[in-house]
């Protein structure tokens, strides 16, 4: 094959131009990657409250470091890794904080979403496994973080970065892999009130669920408010109306509360989840709207010590104000 000098120069030029193009596109890709890195923002929302953060801003927040690894659904173990990131509690605090009636939804760039409960985020309620035997093992404190560093390096895109969920545990423990969401872009605090049932027992029985109670406790239905001597506002349904659901065969039609039975006299027993109970004569309750079974305090669902329901009202002693109510029983003579 004979090639003239002119053709050779032409070929070399073509090759050089191609190389320049390749180099250029490679540089362009790199700079585009850098741009993406700089632009990546984590969006945190809670209702109308929105907070966005760049990766650098996340790295400037107080960080947690520790070990974590995962048990994949295939049964394989990955890790443990040395991890660094920001606690989800800390991130939640930027939009008002996580409380027992919120859940935390983590949304990834590919549209995958995973919801964590309050107990998981705040109490570390996960199962931990021995990475060798894969058997469940007890654990101490576990922390859920939004990790940006693993084994001293930024988390690569292939590794689910730049931001992924990780659960910090003891070095010799791993957690279920499905919690370790990759490519996290958004964290949303969503309402997640826990379900409960109030058992009403008398001439008939009823299991009143949370939705039914809250519907009945709404303004314009049977909802009432009462302010105690500390200025706290309690919200709920008068006890006598709940008694009226089961004092005879008529739960809710017309005059559900049977006044005639009041004259005959009977008692009402309010029972807490732990078995503690208080018994009151119906004469102390009948038609009194200021003695109520409350489900809200100052506009919020009750704190854990009283949740889900507490008896409050005018003239009741401290011992009579039963919290964590599970059952109300009508005791006929």
């Amino acid at each position: 094959m004979k090639i003239s000098i002119r053709e050779l120069i032409k070929e070399i030029l073509l090759v050089l131009v191609s190389l320049l193009l390749v180099a250029n596109s490679s540089l362009a890709l790199q700079s585009s990657d850098t741009a993406v890195q700089e632009e990546i923002a984590l969006k945190i929302t809670a209702g109308d409250t929105v907070k966005t953060l760049t990766l650098d801003e996340i790295k400037e927040m107080p960080s947690l470091e520790g070990w974590g690894g995962r048990l994949r659904s295939s049964g394989d173990i990955e890790g443990p890794f040395a991890l660094k990131g920001v606690s989800l509690i800390e991130l939640g605090n930027l939009v008002g904080g996580i409380n027992p009636d919120t859940a935390v939804k983590v949304i990834s760039r590919d549209g995958y979403a995973m919801t964590f409960s309050y107990k998981q985020i705040v109490e570390g309620d996960y199962i931990t496994y021995d990475p060798v035997s894969k058997q469940e093992v007890p654990h101490e404190e576990l922390q859920t973080i939004l990790a940006y560093e693993t084994d001293g390096n930024e988390i690569t895109f292939q590794g689910g970065g730049p931001l992924r969920i990780a659960i910090l545990s003891a070095k010799n423990q791993v957690t279920d892999g499905h919690w370790w969401c990759k490519w996290v872009e958004e964290i949303e605090l969503i309402p997640a009130p826990k379900e409960w049932t109030l058992h009403l027992k008398g001439a008939i029985e009823e299991n009143m669920d949370r939705g039914t109670f809250e519907s009945g406790a709404s303004e314009g239905c049977h909802g009432v408010k009462w302010v105690d001597d500390k200025g706290r506002e309690w919200e709920g349904i008068p006890l006598w109306l709940l008694v009226g659901r089961v004092d005879d065969e008529n739960p809710h039609e017309g005059k559900a509360f049977n006044d005639a039975l009041v004259q005959e006299g009977y008692e009402v027993k309010i029972i807490a989840g732990d078995g503690y109970s208080v018994t009151l004569p119906i004469s102390a309750i009948a038609r009194k709207n200021n003695i109520l079974v409350a489900y809200k305090l100052n506009g919020q669902f009750l704190p854990e010590e009283y949740w889900p329901l507490r008896l409050v009202g005018e003239g009741l002693t401290g011992k009579e104000q039963v919290g964590q109510i599970k059952e109300i029983e009508v005791l006929f003579p």
């Binding site: 659904s73 590919d110 995973m114 895109f157 499905h178 379900e195």
Partner: protein, 361 residues
């Protein structure tokens, strides 16, 4: 001299372009990678198939990766789009209906063709109770009393998480079917117990819808993330019984209580009890997947994605799986096969596979 120089330049360019790629991908020995994305319950036989196939075809490197079946397909249709992850060459899932549902209706980016247009139904399974000889009441449990044994307070029962795993939502369906089969109303609730956010059952004209909430915190039930990971607590005695695939239980040497055919989902016999049971996740977990699962017999599906990197090699591997050696490996691993397999769209099937299958009735 000039010709040599020219060839040298071209050679250098070729080396410059290809060597880093080869090194990065780890295929410096010239093997062709065939990536298989598979349901976790197929991992045991597929790892044996990998070994046997590579021995017979040293030029091929079979790469097996296991996930829940929904995740298997998402790793074809969603994840590689932005992650740069290698495209799968073979997809094998524990619920064949996911392939038409998630791949036929999704087009390749910028193209007018779907991720798949054929599916082979090549294996089946049944759901029942896995347990060990140490499990409480192991000597007492049988087909007539299992639901009563599982309801006992001291008995620890497990399922895989219905939010993540097909074995989990199939377990809920089986418990609902058991209520109809045995004429007992509370089998499902008494076995799964209470949750902070309850699983609810709604009755409708065609049957039942089981609603699974976004957060599942059981008070009594033990949940693990997949059918495979239920095996470990059963072996250690942390769990007495688990709703499990028969193949997985037998692969790991566990006892297995067969449930009646009307309940175990090995066929459509459930239709004699109820035309339809649906498990509905009360939230959206994926960008492109409607989180509703209809009751169907447990049938595994197999396809080659339209954008597979090595489709010819993928077809050769499927031929091996469907051939005598592959079938023997599946049988040895207690995986029940459909042989010859059924195909839904024979007109789209690669020509080399046509002699191996029959058209779906």
């Amino acid at each position: 001299m000039t010709g040599k120089l020219f060839r040298l330049i071209i050679l250098n360019i070729l080396l410059l372009v290809f060597i880093p790629g080869l090194l990065l991908n780890g295929y410096s020995q010239g093997q062709i990678p065939v990536k298989v994305m598979t349901a976790g319950s197929l991992l045991v036989p597929f790892r044996v198939i990998e070994e046997a196939y590579e021995e017979a075809h040293p030029e091929i490197d079979v790469l097996i990766e296991g996930h829940g079946s929904i995740q298997v397909i998402r790793h074809v249709t969603e994840v590689p789009l932005f992650s740069g992850e290698a495209i799968a060459d073979v997809v094998a899932v524990a619920d064949y209906s996911l392939i038409p549902k998630m791949m036929y209706q999704t087009l390749l980016p910028g193209e007018n063709r779907a991720y798949a247009n054929w599916c082979l139904q090549f294996a089946t399974n049944s759901i029942g109770l896995a347990y060990s000889s140490q499990s409480k009441y192991a000597g007492e449990i049988n087909i007539d009393n299992w639901y009563e044994v599982l309801s006992r307070e001291e008995v620890k029962v497990g399922i895989s998480d219905p939010r993540f795993d097909s074995c989990g939502y199939r377990a809920l369906m089986a418990m609902k079917l058991a209520e109809l089969f045995y004429g007992k109303e509370d089998i499902l609730t008494s076995i799964i117990g209470d949750f902070s956010y309850p699983i609810k059952v709604e009755e409708n004209d065609n049957g039942y819808t089981i609603l699974v909430p976004e957060i599942l915190e059981p008070e009594r039930l033990v949940m693990r993330n997949s059918s495979v990971t239920l095996v470990f607590p059963l072996q250690s005695g942390d769990l007495d019984y688990a709703f499990e695939y028969k193949s997985v239980a037998e692969q790991h040497g566990l006892n297995f209580l067969e449930l009646p055919p009307e309940i175990n989902l090995s066929s459509d016999s459930y239709k004699t009890l109820c035309p339809d049971i649906k498990v509905k996740l009360a939230f959206k977990r994926f960008a492109s997947v409607n989180p509703d699962f209809d009751i169907l017999p447990i049938i595994y599906g197999l396809t080659v994605p339209a954008n597979a990197s090595h489709p010819e090699e993928a077809i050769r591997l499927i031929e091996f799986i469907l051939g005598p050696e592959g079938q023997e490996i599946l049988h040895q691993a207690r995986q029940f096969t459909i042989n010859p397999p059924l195909v839904d769209n024979p007109e789209n099937l690669p020509v080399d596979l046509i002699p191996l299958v029959i058209r779906e009735k």
